[in-house]
């Protein structure tokens, strides 16, 4: 049994062959199915950039992506410190499109455009929001 020369096999591969004529046995005389370049493969391709990390197994350390995060939350415009506050008992943080209403020892968050009641938040939770997103307290300089 002699192996067909590589050049001969390659020439045969270039010819379009209907699937019915191809022998799948792989024995002597069988034709090798030509590999065609797959177009527009996204999920099937194992070599797309998105899936490379899955194959390399490399761990990418957590970094601030610089993007918007989930639902645009990492965008710093979500919660921000209040520049001017008339009432110091009210939350010192705000978010665009909403306002607080004092209610039952806490505050209700109301959507300005639709007046929907988004939630009730206690003073302790407001304090946490202020700590994370409020104005940073300046340390007194030692003179």
């Amino acid at each position: 049994m002699t192996a067909a020369p590589v050049a001969q096999i390659q020439a045969q591969e270039l010819e379009p062959t209907p699937g019915a004529e191809v022998l799948m046995t792989g024995t002597d005389g069988a034709r090798v199915l030509p590999f065609r370049a797959l177009e527009n493969t996204r999920s099937e391709s194992a070599f797309s950039p998105a899936s490379e990390s899955a194959f390399t197994g490399s761990f990418t350390p957590a970094v601030k992506s610089g993007g918007k995060g989930f639902l645009g939350i990492s965008d710093s415009r979500v919660w921000k410190p209040k520049l001017y506050s008339r009432n110091p008992d009210f939350p010192q943080v705000s978010t665009p499109g909403c306002f607080f209403v004092q209610h039952s020892g806490g505050f209700q968050l109301i959507h300005r455009a639709t007046l929907k009641y988004l939630g009730h938040y206690t003073k302790s939770s407001i304090a946490l929001l202020e700590e994370k997103y409020g104005k940073k307290k300046r340390r007194a300089k030692n003179r």
Binding site: V63, L71, W79, S124, S125
Partner: protein, 74 residues
């Protein structure tokens, strides 16, 4: 004469306006963290705080670049 405030019904997740959903998520996480401090079980308290911290990191995008790419809107 004082007016009795009507009972307001909190909106469900599907009814939250899109422009404020991020703020609501962060505020809810802050509320969970504040309530966790009152939990009598210290271990449960720690678990809740760890979970909240991790969820906040995910929401703020402090994740790997690959995951950030998946989470970012197209």
């Amino acid at each position: 004469m004082a007016r009795k405030s009507a009972e307001r019904k909190i909106v469900e997740a599907k009814d939250i306006p899109l422009d404020v959903i991020g703020a609501v998520v962060l505020a809810d996480l802050a509320q969970i963290e504040a309530d966790a401090a009152t939990h009598p079980d210290q271990f449960a308290r720690d678990r809740i705080i760890k979970a909240v911290t991790r969820l906040r990191d995910i929401a703020e995008g402090n994740v790997s670049v690959d995951l950030a790419r998946e989470l970012a809107p197209a």
